[in-house]
């Protein structure tokens, strides 16, 4: 099974993200592989262990984005490709999907493209389905269980009502949720391998596509209105007295 995992580099989830002078700042927080993509790498490695094959990590970004690829390599991915071009700054999701679909085609012979469910910066969650649509492959988004059998696959997808069980033919696009277990820690050997890896960089010319046009614009990014609340601490008395007072106050808000 030949798997491509699409990853993104994002500010750490513990970062305090604010807008300063119109620009997004995450202070000293590190840039890391998107946590959802780490689950996708883990799921891909599990498939490789069960079925054989290879796992290739790809990302779109500048030189610094290689760190996200190195994390995937250190976890156990076989190789990685950086897609880098000055024309690829600030892409919207459909433009991103065009680039990723072209990369998957260029890699060739791919059985599955894996994605995290969404990136924790833009929170869009659109790129997996859009890439699938462009490739003409089934979109098996929000998969929690994947069982490959020859050229077919059976997944359980998380939906509001529980799980939907779907079968499809490969190749397919998958977006993954957390159910594959905690992503493995990179091993010492893995980190050494990743640090020495030569990661090729592909430009748009290498992909053979023109610069994709973004149609979404972001005219203003803002800090959310600050939540001016002063906590009313309910103190004193027995648990029953506290519960009486607290329930009265909640009911007085007239929102129940």
């Amino acid at each position: 099974m030949k798997i491509v995992v699409c990853v993104k580099q994002v500010p750490d989830s513990a970062a305090k993200v604010v807008v300063e002078n119109g620009k997004v700042s995450w202070g000293d927080a590190p840039l890391v592989i998107n946590p959802w993509d780490e689950y996708a790498v883990e799921a891909a490695l599990q498939q490789k262990e069960a079925l054989g094959g290879t796992v290739t990590a790809i990302t779109i970004g500048g030189e610094g984005s290689k760190e996200a690829l190195k994390h995937a390599l250190a976890m156990g991915a076989d190789d990685a490709i950086l897609i880098s071009d000055p024309a690829l700054a600030n892409l919207d999701t459909q433009a991103t999907a065009q680039v990723l679909a072209a990369a998957v085609k260029k890699i060739g012979g791919v059985d599955a493209a894996f994605f995290g469910r969404q990136a924790i910066d833009a929170d869009s969650g659109l790129v997996p389905a859009q890439t699938a649509r462009l490739l003409g492959w089934p979109a098996l988004t929000l998969s929690a269980v994947i069982k490959v059998d020859g050229g077919s696959v059976r997944v359980e997808r998380g939906v509001e009502e529980g799980r939907q069980i779907v079968t499809a033919k490969l190749p397919a696009v998958f977006s993954l949720v957390k159910d594959f277990g905690e992503p493995r820690y990179p091993s010492f050997m893995g980190i050494r391998k990743a640090s020495r890896a030569v990661i090729p960089a592909w430009s748009l010319a290498d992909l053979g596509i023109p610069a994709p046009a973004s149609v979404i614009a972001w005219p203003e990014i803002m800090n959310p209105p600050s939540r001016e609340v002063k906590c009313d601490f309910i103190t004193g008395g027995s648990p029953q007295e506290i519960a009486e007072a607290l329930s009265d106050k909640i009911l007085a808000e007239k929102v129940l």
Binding site: A14, G125, A139, E161, A168, I216, A217, M222, I242, E253
Partner: protein
Amino acid sequence: MNTWVYIDHFKGTALPASWEAIGVGKTLGTVEALVFGTGVEALAKTAFEYGADEVLLADDPALADYRAEAFAATLGSLVASGTPDLLLFPTTTRGRELAAMAAIDLKTGVMVDVTALESADGKITVTRPIYAGKLLTKETCSARPLIITLRGRAFPKPEQQAGKSGTLTKVAAAAGDFPTKVEGYTTGEGGVSLTDAGVIVSGGRGVSNNPALTPPAGLDEKQTEIWRAQQGFALVKDLASVLGAAVGASRAAVDAGYIPYPNQVGQTGKVVSPDVYIACGISGAIQHLAGMRTSKVIVAINKDAEAPIFKLARYGVVGDLFQILPALTAAFKKKLGK
């Protein structure tokens, strides 16, 4: 402006954010609701009652189960013969996926999970949270038709007007050999869905620390911790049940194996915005706060007075949640007449 609203449903039960989307469409002009499925004519009737002027009903056994490819193809063929300026979807799993595919088919963009929308001179600017709500961004789209998914509970649900009717147009499902087959469903735990919930009671790591409990003999350390957490979450669930609330959890509680992942609230879980959010034994890591900070009334019960959750809380109790929670459940039971 002519707005098409996709009515997301499961076996004929609509997700409420679909009706909220009709309300938004009506503020912009006329609304045509899209109802896809089989045996779903009753949904068309309800769509009229929530304000749709017209319903495009694709009622076909081939649409019995939601399949992205089949539904997107049907949507695409309708758009080709219609004149929508704007397609609205609820931000549900299906709504988000269909919107994504429709944007590719129609060569346009998606403004996703929108919480506010302004219209001036036919130009629409939306606001949506990014970084799990740590920031907000305004967005515009230069291509047409516009595609927007609306976050549940961000817009008011219109008043349902019993008996109101409109033009029902039956349309065909797109024919074709689609690559996926739905084999069936496994249901979740049931109960109230977090993203639709008006009230959420959440538990964190603190629910496993009840010193008054004596665990059964023969459990190892991890089993003992899980057993303790289950007793703690039982108290959370009791309160949730009296309030008709959904049960949430912090990432710490999910990662520790206390409760399944679909209950997780926060940056790598669900972002929620209920009227009342009761946090029990949750200290308030930044990732958790991002996922619930827009809740109307936040109540925190924690033994640590310095816990960051109290900075967002309207009401706080510094104390033993194992004593407070049962008392609070009893108090609500009495006052709500349950």
